[in-house]
């Protein structure tokens, strides 16, 4: 293999890039843009996290202590929107920007300028969301699902949210077009589709999902906008509309969206588990097919979010059976990961710990999902804390843990330094313990009948809410360790070799650490 490593001369190859702030504003370099995405995502993670802690503080005791109900509803709404669209999705686009070109032997993303624009759309959208807290009437308070007709009732904060969602959608779609084009056109000679690293595969599938469903969300919120201001009645029965129509359209976006959030994480975990087991991934082809099956099935299950709206029983049965089907490819993935570990030579550095945490906890989220899929049982659980517990097992222990795993795994490649391993392990164990303290008890709250999205609750729910709040603060504070570890790793730390993990496979490890500003200017050849 010809691994051309451009030396320092390449910095002059494209003239003099601006320095300082303008470097970041005008950059078309995939690594710069990846870095911007990742820092933006972490900033949003902190903002959304502060909102979560505000919510948990209010819920520490029954009664109203620090927030009036209207503010509380604004907090839950913005927490959801910011975490999904501001933290998790940009984090994985950040990994994609950094890693996909390096992993497939391309010199950059296909559309450099569009890449710059997809990132720079994000800060204005995030600003709209955060600033909406301070406009008259406050931010949107209808939950992140923005159900009509409640969302039709709200103040101008809702209009700002709708606009923000439009902008975020445009950004995601442009990012996805870029990722698909890069993967399909810029692979190094010999890198056939079925030789691509799993992270690249999962992103290819995710990008198609994004292009398919983001316009659907844009349509849904646009209908709210016209119902609010232009006299239409999409969701108003008095004008011939139907409030439930919104839910159908929203969840047609919303269910694929949850796989958009987690599928790239599947890719990360597949690579990390294989690297630290020092064994090739078991069932590579079946992993690809399972991921594609999950993505396709995700279009046929949306109404399992709506079992209690009063759809015909035949509809409930269809969506129930379709949802149960998803357990099969998901199970296959978990079995493949475990088979990869089987008789390997395992070591447990931080990326591996987070990936194992992912497999263990995500599977629990999968099981609670299977319970929720059963329509008669779901009728008891719909809109209770059981659902809150379930989706935090998939979003936090799923998507977020895999994002941590990815960060620790590739940090030496990005910075040229090793992070502090001990601190990384402490970060993992604290996150694991406090995550479960926060969310495991919420299963019990849901079973006992505590609805979600309430600022105040009956006395029998007090104890578990207190435990959950303590856990949330522990979890939130643990993330400062991560921040400290990343910053010290950027500034100092032992020099990282080109391939710090002896079991890792892939083109990215053939570049020096830190990866040069322009990599693979001459394409490598894959045998």
């Amino acid at each position: 293999m010809e691994a051309t490593v451009p030396g320092h001369a390449d910095t002059h190859a494209h003239g003099h890039p601006p320095s300082g702030l303008m470097r970041w504003v005008t950059t078309t370099n995939h690594k710069d843009i990846g870095t911007l995405y990742l820092w933006f995502s972490f900033a949003m993670f902190l903002v959304g996290g502060m909102m979560a802690l505000t919510i948990r503080s209010e819920l520490f005791q029954p009664g109203l202590q620090i927030l009036e109900p209207e503010r509380f509803n604004q907090m839950t709404t913005l927490h959801g929107l910011i975490m999904v669209f501001g933290a998790i999705m940009p984090a994985f686009v950040g990994f994609a920007n950094w890693m996909i070109p390096m992993q497939i032997g391309a010199s950059d993303m296909a559309f450099g300028r569009m890449n710059n624009w997809s990132f720079w759309l994000l800060p204005p959208a995030a600003t709209l969301l955060v600033v909406s807290l301070f406009v008259p009437g406050g931010a949107a308070a209808a939950g992140w699902t923005l159900y009509a007709p409640l969302s039709v009732q709200q103040g101008m904060g809702m209009d700002m949210t709708i606009f923000a969602v439009h902008i975020l959608g445009m950004s995601s779609i442009m990012g996805s077009i870029n990722i698909i084009t890069t993967i399909l056109n810029l692979r190094a000679p010999g890198m056939t589709l079925m030789k691509m690293p799993l992270f690249v595969w999962t992103w290819l599938i995710t990008a198609f999902l994004i292009i398919a469903v983001m316009p659907v969300l844009a349509g849904a919120v646009t209908m709210i906008l016209t119902d609010r201001h232009f006299g239409t009645s999409f969701f108003n029965a008095a004008g011939g509309g139907d409030p439930v129509l919104f839910q159908h359209v929203f969840w047609f976006f919303g269910h694929p969206e949850v796989y958009i959030v987690v599928i790239p994480g599947f890719g990360v975990v597949s690579q990390v588990v294989s690297a630290f087991s020092r064994k090739p991934l078991f069932g590579y082809a079946s992993m690809v097919y399972a991921t594609a099956s999950i993505a396709i099935l995700s279009f046929f299950v949306w109404a399992h979010h709506m079992y209690t709206v009063g759809m015909p029983v035949g509809g409930q049965l269809f969506f129930m059976y379709a949802t149960m089907l998803i357990a099969i490819p998901t199970g296959v993935k978990v079995f493949n990961w475990i088979a990869t570990m089987w008789r390997g030579s395992l070591s447990f550095e931080t990326p591996m710990l987070f990936s194992l945490g992912f497999i263990f906890l995500f599977t629990m989220g999968g099981f609670s999902g299977l319970v929720l899929a059963m329509a008669p049982v779901d009728v008891q659980m719909q809109d209770t804390y059981y659902v809150v517990a379930h989706f935090h097992y998939t979003m936090v222990a799923g998507a977020l843990f895999s994002a941590f795993s990815a960060t620790y795994y590739w940090l030496p490649k990005w910075t040229g330094h090793m992070y502090n391993e001990t601190l990384g392990k402490v970060h993992f164990w604290l996150s694991l313990v406090f995550f479960n303290l926060t969310f495991f008890v919420q299963h019990f709250l849901g079973l006992a009948g505590m609805p979600r999205r309430i600022p105040d609750y009956a006395l029998q729910f007090s104890e578990f809410n207190q435990i959950s709040t303590i856990g949330a603060f522990g979890f939130g504070l643990s993330q400062l360790l991560f921040l400290y570890n990343v910053i010290t790793c950027i500034r100092s730390g032992p020099k990282a070799p080109a391939k710090p993990w002896d079991g890792a496979e892939g083109l990215e490890w053939e570049l020096p650490s830190p990866a040069p500003y322009h990599s693979w200017e001459t394409q490598p050849t894959v045998k």
């Binding site: 029954p62 009664g63 109203l64 202590q65 109900p69 209207e70 009437g137 209808a142 159900y147 007709p149 409640l150 709200q154 103040g155 029965a237 139907d242 409030p243 087991s277 020092r278 064994k279 069932g283 209690t308 009063g310 357990a327 199970g331 296959v332 079995f335 570990m341 089987w342 008789r343 390997g344 030579s345 395992l346 070591s347 194992l356 263990f360 599977t363 629990m364 099981f367 319970v371 329509a375 008669p376 009728v379 008891q380 809109d383 019990f444 079973l447 006992a448 009948g449 609805p451 979600r452 309430i454 600022p455 105040d456 009956a458 006395l459 029998q460 007090s462 104890e463 207190q466 079991g503």
Partner: protein, 371 residues
């Protein structure tokens, strides 16, 4: 700084020690809820067994197949046989699950042959009930949170049924099949009684239905389960299941009450009479948004104190109270309140706080203003 923190921890821990842990669904009060309970337990056991098997394998590997034990990794990486096997086994398990689940779902959705039909209407933020069919036909009332504001704002100790108590509970006889039609007046609500395994969204402009047959007497508490705005947490559902005799007595009492409260439409009221009745109506229906001070929470919930509508011409004031305002949380109270109550509350609003118009609105004027 340490002492209060220590005390807080102590208080918290001793609170847990006394607490009655609720780790599962509430004790079922209908056969269907029992079936759902058992279904959930069955699912839990199946999931737990699979979980333990799968993760025993993983943890065996984690402990035995370590690099630190000096082993060389195996190199196998695919087996079509194994892949087929672990696709088929979960499929079979899922197929076995479908039968009991489908059966329970079909029972749950069968609301035919009901003996009493009650319509539950969700309002921001209370429930209204109309007994439509069967014994008690014609009874209608509003059911509003009974927990006082002081308890919510922590200035009074919280009662046993904090936030799960109402002024008028739904009363039904034991052992009879009750069909509940749900609808809503403004946004989507959800009628949720855990002990009956009943949760049915109430969608404005549409009628949905659910049903239950309680197999024991008692008071069963739930609450609105679909986010419906500011006071979503404050609209409980309380169902009192009583014996047939008690139910018959309750029906008679309700019908007497309703006859008595149908005030003489031609009576001419005095200002103090209207204001005092109006204040009670205001406290039940308007206070959540417009607040006891009449200051509201502008701009979403406008102030009434000094407002142009409440101090301007009577006609405009009556119009907005009767018909509401589209696109806002202001409901059309003409559908919820009697002429006398509407007249009283409008009169109250025109004379409370700084609004000293001195004008009064008679029930006959409301009757004329209704379209």
């Amino acid at each position: 700084m340490l002492r209060p923190a220590g005390l807080l921890v102590l208080a918290t821990v001793s609170g847990w020690a006394q607490a009655e842990y609720k780790l599962n669904f509430q004790e079922p009060a209908t056969k269907l809820a029992r079936d759902v309970y058992d279904l959930h337990m069955g699912m839990m056991y199946i999931c737990a067994v699979i979980f333990v098997i799968v993760f025993s394998v993983m943890f065996y590997s984690v402990f035995k197949h370590r690099k630190s034990s000096g082993r060389a990794p195996a190199t196998f990486h695919e087996s079509t046989k194994v892949e087929i096997l672990w696709t088929i086994i979960p499929t079979v398990i899922l197929l076995l699950m479908t039968w009991p689940v489908t059966k329970t779902l079909l029972q749950m959705r069968d609301s035919s042959n009901a003996e009493i039909t009650i319509k539950a209407t969700g309002y921001q933020w209370k429930w209204g009930y109309d007994y439509l069919k069967g014994e008690g036909e014609g009874i209608r009332f509003m059911s509003v949170l009974a927990t006082p504001n002081e308890q919510i704002h922590n200035t009074a100790p919280k009662g046993e049924h904090y936030l799960q108590e109402v002024d008028n509970p739904v009363v039904v006889p034991v052992g009879k099949k009750i069909r509940v039609l749900t609808t809503a007046n403004d946004v989507i609500h959800s009628w949720f009684v855990p002990a009956f395994a009943v949760k049915q969204d109430a969608v404005p402009g549409f009628i949905r239905d659910t049903s239950f047959r309680a197999d024991r007497e008692g008071i069963f508490r739930g609450q609105c389960a679909e986010l419906c705005g500011k006071d979503h947490a404050y609209m409980p559902v309380v169902v009192e299941v009583v014996s047939q005799e008690k139910y018959t007595a309750w029906v008679a009492e309700q019908q007497k009450k309703m006859a008595a409260s149908a005030a003489d439409p031609n009576k001419v009221w005095t200002l103090p009479e209207l204001v005092s009745r109006g204040e009670a109506v205001y406290m039940q229906n308007c206070v959540a948004c417009h607040l006891p001070t009449g200051k509201g929470l502008p701009p979403v919930f406008p102030a009434l104190d000094g407002s142009k509508i409440a101090t301007g011409p009577k006609a405009g004031h009556m119009e907005i109270v009767i018909n509401g305002k589209a696109g806002t949380a202001m409901a059309a109270f003409g559908k919820q309140l009697s002429d006398a109550d509407l007249a009283a509350v409008v009169t109250f609003e025109r004379n409370a706080w700084g609004n000293k118009t001195g004008e009064l609105v008679q029930p006959s004027e409301i009757k004329a203003a209704r379209k």
